[in-house]
Symmetry: C2
Subunit: 321 residues, 2 copies
DNA sequence: TTGTAAGCGTTATCAC
DNA sequence: GTGATAACGCTTACAA
């Protein structure tokens, strides 16, 4: 009945006597509103979906923490999905083929989204925000750092401390994903600005940005006739794997080889040596994407915007003599 | 209409002609079944909730990865919530006070659950599985390792490599949570078995099992008149913080102080030195808890069972000369 | 094999 | 201020 709903929802136009009566009945029957029925009626689930490649990658779990917190602050909860680098899974999520889309909006943080994937979202009305991409094409909201500048800052730092043979780990085998392309561009730009030559044998690919990818790539670099004296890794995890490979080869960080990453995950702060990195403001990214998706849920016809999150260089032991 | 539902659900008793017709109409109208309406009718959301203290703690994010995978295999999705050591939040989840309980079952991995909290779940019909606890009281399903034995194995290893002054980090300030109590008991038992004395000044508390907790606790141990020659940490994160404190004090691991943790997170495999630990079979834990909660969703009156997950000692550099 | 109608538990509309 | 009643979009008896 109407009055009960009013009481439950804390509506004002209810007499004190009636409110007390309803409350008593609620207590008596141990009544709990059914959220599903409410959702069917209101059209809002109160849930957001956060889609990441792998939740156990520290950058994503730290991002998830912030997103869950930011969402909780505005009364939303977060469902987490992993695509595991699976294009088919990404497609399902983007097209809404999944049978259980119980959420109001999608925060999509693709490691490997191609533009063509995004085209598929077209017919769906599910609000969507892209995280971590920076190829703004005006169709979807983006929240991301300036990847080119971030990579450039990292390499500039290596140059500033006097390194001249700077390698990079993290380009993708198939060059079709935005993030690695942008970071590669930043690396190239920094070298060019310093009048340094870009050597193809110093550019190593990494499929999953994992510690072991970083380890393997660094091993390959160390085996070169003229090994580098610095390595710029496209993620902190790659950098941690790379550092381990340097030690296993009997060399030292940063003395023989300086290492810098991107992400500023907590693991890097406690690594030995502690890892220099580019810090991404994940609380900012989380807050802004939640704010933005709520606005879009309220008004699906909002114009797409691009939100650039701040980043900054953090110098630690891995790049300081 | 009946037939449409049949087609969508892949029912058999539908004529080919009719099925084609329906499919064409679906395509034409770009029809998508509304999952909320389906849920209201069937009573199943197809979602599980995984509740952990903090998703960015590697052990929990690795567990979450496995739970999401295990759930996906049986057509379920996973909502993740953090309690952040907040008792009020735990209470809400357990009692169903939250207004948006859009899931069929709850996998609850409390760092800090007191028995009294569990009492509150009594009136709720939401299926519940407890993870990581091992104080089986017969009321709820548990999936956990044998914490006492795990701790005992870790300390036995330190004794086996000849250490005699073995400290422990990870007991709780307020001694009311199961996991730390059990791990403390295992530590005590191993020392007693070896005829070693338990020294109160070698037992350090840690509120959040974080790297910085481990760092601070280890610093305190090193400042003792007679510092330990080995530290057993109740989690890998504590151990990683502790190792860093040892290095910052100018000492070496394992030469001066051996360190061992529990969890076997990937970070420990790449740490320097790599971290000895007790490996918990998280894929097993994830698989079994999902299996169990599905059974309980099907039949809420199932008797509570206790599932013990395997664990095993992993010896790495942090405890080998 | 196919169509009709009831009902899941809310919230919103609308008289009173 | 309060009580009936419709509607959200699906699944499923039941009838045809």
């Amino acid at each position: 009945m109407r009055t009960v709903s009013n009481v439950v929802s804390g509506y004002t136009h209810v007499s004190e006597r009636m409110r007390a009566k309803v409350l008593a009945a609620i207590e008596e029957l141990d009544y709990r509103p059914n959220p599903v029925a409410r959702t069917l009626r209101t059209g809002r689930t109160g849930m957001l979906a956060l889609v990441v490649p792998e939740i156990d990658v520290p950058y994503f779990s730290e991002l998830a923490r912030d997103v869950i917190d930011a969402a909780a602050e505005v009364g939303y909860r977060v469902m987490i999905d992993q695509t595991g680098h699976d294009h088919e899974r990404e497609r399902q999520l983007l097209t809404g083929d999944d049978r259980t889309m119980l959420f109001d909006g999608l925060l999509f943080s693709p490691l490997v989204t191609k533009t063509e994937l995004l085209d598929m979202h077209g017919s769906m009305r599910m609000p969507l925000i892209l995280l971590g991409e920076h190829e703004f094409d005006g169709r979807y909201d983006h929240v991301a750092i300036d990847n080119v500048a971030a990579a450039c800052d990292a390499v500039d730092h290596l140059i500033a401390i006097g390194r001249t043979k700077i390698a990079a780990i993290g380009s993708q085998p198939q060059e079709e994903y935005a993030t690695p392309l942008q970071r590669s561009a930043g690396y190239d730009a920094a070298l060019a600005d310093a009048g340094m030559r870009r050597r193809a044998d110093y550019i190593r690919t990494a499929a999953h940005y994992s510690r072991s990818d970083g380890y393997a790539a660094a091993q390959a670099l160390l085996a070169l006739p003229e090994p580098p004296d610095a390595i710029f890794c496209f993620s902190d995890l790659l950098a941690i794997g790379a550092m381990r490979a340097v030690f296993d080869a009997g060399l030292r960080v940063p003395d023989d080889i300086a290492v810098i990453g991107i992400d500023d995950v907590e693991e890097g702060r406690f690594a030995r040596p502690s890892l220099s990195t580019i810090s991404l403001d994940t609380p900012f990214i989380a807050r802004e994407s939640v704010r933005r998706i709520l606005a879009r849920i309220d008004d699906p016809d909002l114009e797409a915007t691009e939100i650039v999150a701040p980043h900054r260089l953090i110098v630690r032991e891995s790049t300081t003599g």
